[in-house]
């Protein structure tokens, strides 16, 4: 990898929040196309962060700081990406389900998905099923991500999926579920399409699902 791109990659991986923006600027000035900076340096770095998280070399602090660095760099790169007409991998509507105010896991998933090139619409916490339905109508996402921390609130995931079905929107979206009490069996039972045990695999699974469906990759 080119030195400038390598520097961006390293800064994101090491979470050097303040240095990333300057490095992105340098890479653009050196004539690197925005898409190359995004894919070869930034998304590649976040993929490595996800790998290190899965192997327990990284914990939540390292992951959050890397995501912040990614965000700083992305803010600078965005005008160039728009100029080059580079589209996001896909769009995700994300939220913590009704009755549940917990958001750290959901936020992490959001950051990792952004890091993987998705556009993320975050509906926040305690999101009622009808708000998910409205957001799907408005934003036309390919993926809906539902989060819950509690064994008592995860049942609202089922209600949300049913609301999407009743609104005739269920077949237009991939429903991804996650959160501490959620298991693959529960995800199956409530009719979700994808289950991810933690943030890093959420991005990877959403991306591969897209590849399967012939979506942008």
């Amino acid at each position: 990898m080119d030195d400038v791109l390598q520097a961006i990659y390293d800064s994101i991986l090491e979470g050097r929040v303040t240095e990333v923006a300057a490095e992105v600027q340098r890479a653009l000035a050196a004539g690197h196309p925005a898409g190359v900076i995004l894919n070869q340096a930034m998304i590649a770095a976040m993929a490595e962060v996800g790998r290190r998280f899965e192997t327990m070399e990284y914990f939540v602090p390292e992951m959050l700081v890397a995501a912040r660095a990614m965000k700083e760099g992305l803010a600078l790169l965005r005008p160039a990406l728009v100029g080059a007409q580079i589209e996001p991998v896909g769009k995700v509507v994300l939220g913590t389900v009704s009755g549940d105010l917990h958001d750290i896991g959901k936020n992490l998933v959001g950051m990792v998905l952004e890091g993987a090139g998705f556009e993320v619409v975050d509906l926040g916490v305690n999101v009622p099923p009808e708000a998910f339905v409205a957001a799907v109508r408005e934003h036309r996402p390919q993926v809906v991500g539902l989060s819950a921390l509690l064994t008592t609130t995860m049942l609202a995931m089922k209600a949300t999926i049913e609301a999407l079905r009743a609104a005739g929107l269920r077949d237009q979206v991939v429903v991804m579920v996650g959160g501490a009490p959620v298991t693959p069996a529960f995800a199956d039972r409530i009719g979700a399409d994808l289950y991810a045990p933690e943030a890093a695999s959420a991005a990877a699974r959403a991306r591969s699902r897209f590849a399967d469906q012939g979506g942008a990759e």
Partner: protein, 384 residues
């Protein structure tokens, strides 16, 4: 065997007549209001005597105080002793119905939910070490916290033959997370280490001072001191081992040393989650028993944990509240109880309880099944 005699044998890693049982002696081994009412109705144990703690963590967690009659019906071997309310309380109900705790953290119970969740963390903003000193902290010397504590301990000694557990406030991890907000709390370890250290020092100072005041009152009467601070999630430690050892462990050590200087009681330490990798560190700082042994978390294989650490640390908890107790049948619960007893009880060093407070989705039949199975399969010799 008397309840206390049985408990002390297990606490000292000897085999009593039967595995001792806990319900409600700590704020991590209790039962919430709704399942408590359902259990009392199910057992027809008279009218639910609903003694609720309307203050602090127990209020937020909505933990019931089980009646003596219920504890006797289930043959529970421990009784809990809890701190009193300060004379000058900082805790208050806000006009919009939300709840502000003594640190200034605001929580609200969404309609239809059983739980209070955080809606405002007062330190979730740019701040400096100097700002920490300006904050209005709870006063650990407020006499209300320990007033009547000794009398209550003596009364429990006189009216029951059970072992006594003094339950203290959570230590430093949870309070700092609630104050700072979870996201800032996590990144502070990397981006604001001096602020994190100062915040943890402040909390260590307050918590230690109150723990010492409580133990000066009842240190000679209690058999167990219970303290809590989650350092793991379901995957593993919340932060890396080097960070845990730099920021958390020395402060926990300071707190436990202060406790040990004022009581011969055993130290029971509660951390949810996948703590397997941290157990050698817990042993190093003098933890005698760990709770809740969250068997649904990564690497919390009870047979392996007992084999690896059994002589050095005891286990308190272990009956799965994530899958088996809420969603299993009474037969599933009995199987779970039998397995945990076979894994953890040999040689003593095991107190049976549910992994954390029994939640509203746990049917009373399963609670009854848990305690009957424990009385049946918990008799020594174990798994002959």
């Amino acid at each position: 065997m008397q309840h206390r005699e049985r408990a002390l044998a297990a606490l000292n890693h000897q085999e009593p007549d039967r595995v001792p049982l806990d319900l409600g002696s700590t704020r991590n081994t209790g039962i919430l209001i709704e399942p408590y009412q359902a259990l009392v109705a199910h057992l027809s144990a008279g009218q639910p005597e609903l003694a609720l703690d309307d203050y602090g963590q127990s209020k937020i967690a909505r933990v019931a105080s089980p009646s003596e009659a219920l504890l006797r019906a289930l043959d529970v071997d421990f009784r809990g002793l809890f701190l009193g309310f300060p004379d000058r309380p900082l805790e208050q109900r806000l006009p919009d119905g939300s709840h502000q705790d003594e640190l200034g953290v605001v929580r609200r119970k969404p309609p239809g939910s059983f739980y209070y969740d955080i809606v405002h963390s007062p330190f979730d903003r740019e701040m400096t070490v100097a700002d920490l000193e300006k904050w209005t902290w709870p006063d650990p010397t407020d006499p209300g916290y320990v007033r009547g504590l000794r009398e209550r301990a003596l009364a429990l000694r006189a009216t029951t033959d059970c072992a006594l557990v003094l339950h203290l406030q959570d230590m430093i991890v949870h309070p700092s997370q609630y104050l700072r907000g979870f996201e800032r709390w996590y990144v502070d370890f990397i981006l604001e280490p001096a602020l994190m250290a100062a915040l943890l020092d402040k909390l260590t100072e307050i918590r230690t001072e109150l723990a010492v005041a409580a133990l000066k009152a009842v240190g000679d009467l209690v058999d167990v001191v219970s303290s809590s601070d989650d350092v793991a999630d379901q995957r593993g430690p919340m932060i890396s081992l080097p960070m845990y050892r730099r920021f958390i462990k020395p402060r926990h050590r300071h707190y436990f040393d202060a406790i040990r200087a004022h009581t011969p009681a055993k130290i029971l330490y509660h951390s949810c989650g996948a703590v397997a990798a941290l157990i050698p560190d817990f042993i190093d700082i003098g933890v005698d028993f760990i709770n809740p042994v969250q068997v649904s978390a990564n690497g919390m294989d009870t047979a392996r944990l007992k084999q690896a650490y059994g002589p050095q640390i005891g286990f308190w908890g272990s009956i799965d509240t994530m899958h088996v107790l809420p969603f299993g049948s009474p037969e599933d619960v009995a199987r779970e109880v039998k397995q945990r007893i076979c894994d953890l009880a040999p040689g003593g060093g095991f107190v049976l309880a549910a992994v954390h407070n029994l939640q509203p989705n746990v049917p009373p039949q399963n609670i009854v099944a848990m305690f009957s199975a424990a009385r049946e399969f918990g008799c020594y010799p174990i798994c002959p």
